[in-house]
């Protein structure tokens, strides 16, 4: 009896359910409960992804978790910023350099980078939601002249929870991205904004006819931000958000991540607010 994968990608014939062996090469403590892993394939394999896609990471013997790819692309290594929130993510964040880790992916539909070209871009991140947006930001920086004004509005819990601090400065200075950061709670040493991320929208001088918004963060936050943006006249089809649901298989077979008719893993995780708005408004859907 020959051993075969139980699921394949019909387009490439590649296994879809068996993780590829990778090794952690670097681990960085990014926030009190978040670590960034740099991961390398044990055997070099072609791997390309688009900003907003995710991988399924396996901590061997513990389990598997969907983790967005947090770029930047084209480094030959996979970058994942992981928050320690459950048994699997806890195990993943405890992996040390040269520890094995399993990778399946990339999966899903990412940010509308092509659609956003020639447009102004409002990027709104909440908490760890900056991680899936980071590849999109690097994509924009790599083709900066193809985009109009770019704003990054970022809400974090406390100043020490702000991810990629040194990079954000670079984005601001060299990338001509108008960065505004706010935190929910701060002490005396924080010179920046305090308050919810929707409050930062007043800093955005938006031409709604040529703006694309990309949102990632807790669903409640995205709901309120999307509502504020539509109030300002931005069309629901111009607002994109990255959704989160329980993902087990990542290929639309296990049924866990359904939200109404959508399989978040297969049809998303990035959707328009036009599609998600009506579904997000129904509790426990």
């Amino acid at each position: 009896m020959s051993l075969k994968p139980t699921a394949i990608d019909a387009r490439s014939g590649a296994p879809a359910d068996v993780p590829k062996l990778c090794y952690v090469r670097k681990r960085r403590h990014d926030a009190p409960d978040a670590w960034t892993l740099e991961i390398e394939f044990a055997e070099s394999v072609p791997f390309s992804y688009t900003p907003g896609q995710f991988n399924m990471l396996t901590a061997f013997g513990v389990g598997e978790s969907a983790i967005s790819i947090s770029g930047p692309p084209g480094q030959g290594r996979l970058i994942h910023t992981i928050r320690d929130v459950g048994p699997v993510s806890h195990a993943l964040t405890r992996l040390a350099p040269n520890d094995p880790v399993g990778v399946r992916g990339p999966f899903g539909v990412g940010w509308p980078m092509a659609t956003a070209e020639g447009q102004d871009v409002v990027i709104v991140a909440g908490g760890l939601g900056l991680a899936p947006l980071r590849p999109a930001i690097y994509h924009i920086l790599s083709r900066r002249e193809h985009f109009g004004d770019v704003w990054l509005l970022y809400g974090a819990r406390r100043p020490e929870d702000i991810l990629y601090r040194s990079e954000i400065e670079e984005w601001r200075k060299k990338g001509h991205i108008d960065v505004n950061i706010t935190v929910d709670h701060a002490g005396m040493d924080w010179p920046g904004h305090v308050g919810v991320v929707t409050g930062l929208l007043s800093h955005v001088n938006m031409d709604v006819s040529r703006t694309i918004a990309m949102l990632c963060g807790p669903e409640v936050m995205m709901r309120f931000v999307a509502a504020s943006l539509t109030e300002k006249g931005l069309g629901v089809g111009r607002i994109f958000l990255s959704m989160e649901r329980n993902m087990k298989c990542a290929i639309g077979h296990c049924g866990h991540c359904q939200l109404g008719p959508a399989f978040i893993c297969r049809d998303g995780p990035v959707f328009t607010f036009e599609r998600m708005g009506p579904l997000m408004s129904v509790k426990e859907l």
């Binding site: 990608d9 359910d17 062996l21 061997f60 329980n246 077979h253 359904q258 008719p261």
Partner: protein, 373 residues
Amino acid sequence: MNADKRVITDEQLQKLIDVLIGAGRRVLGPVRGDGVVVYEDIQSVNDFPVGLTDEQTPGGYRLVEAADQSYFGFSVGPHVWKKFLHPSQIELWRARREGENLIIEASGGNNETYAFIGVRACELAAISKQDRVLTGGDYVDTHYQTRRENTLLIAVNCGKAGGCCFCASMGTGPEVRGPFDLALTELSPADEHLFVVEAGSPAGQELLLEIGSRPATEHEIETAKSIVERTALTMGRSMPPDVDVPRLLADNLLHPRWQEVAERCLSCANCTLVCPTCFCTTVEDISDLAGESFARERRWDSCFTMDFSYLHGGGVRNTVASRYRQWMTHKLSTWIEQFGSSGCVGCGRCITWCPVGIDITQEVQAIAGAQTG
């Protein structure tokens, strides 16, 4: 016009089983289990629940003596063919440490061949629906696909509608359509125990040649037709006609009926286990105590469990109402957008095997009724 309708005897049916086993196939069919009809390995026509029928009501199932010695005089029981095609538990891969290295190996691949005997119209429809879900998209469940390709489907037209059946109103039965190799209609066993048979594939035609058959007479063809027609007319239930069910449910996600049904629903997941189209699975990783070898197992899951929608810190669907709504709207509404057809085949199992007798057709009626009234 009906030149393709032929007739075989019970002896030829036995020969069919013998031929299939001789070809190395596992032959699976209905047998009398512990008070119910189940699907298991068979070797002989005598393994069928001969002379038995069933009485089904919401939350009720009883095997009783039939009036004759039919092989297939009952309607569907708690077992579903997905238990062979989409097993309740399989291993996906294993990994082991070898020195510094970790070796990961897929665990899939199986060469078993099968023949299912006694597949009903609703079950054929269900198999088609699972084909679509598991093999019709960009990703293919090869385990399922291989088993499907290695399985002969020998269908049976229902001669009796169960008390909870509603396939006629779902357009899936009782006459078998879809991907069968052979389709039988059991004629009332008298002096001779005969079956009108039709081949649905080259493999089915070959089997018929091998076991022998004779052309069906006009009378036999008419009799077979009337048997299915009678079954259609005696369906225990029906999905409310003249109701756009998918739209109705999509428009009534906040209907108070969800709360009412939740007061009865035990969230036990029986309906999802007996449903022939429910396909959801979860995975569990296991390891030895030394941390030297690992494996991932996949098993059936149900949207009625709390963990199903778990998202770091809690479930998305914490109330029974939301879980029942997920199951029913997925089955009857969102499935259509996802896979192009309803996820329900009208087999009625979810009604029969619900411990509190919740009736999916009645739930639709309740929402539709309140809508129009």
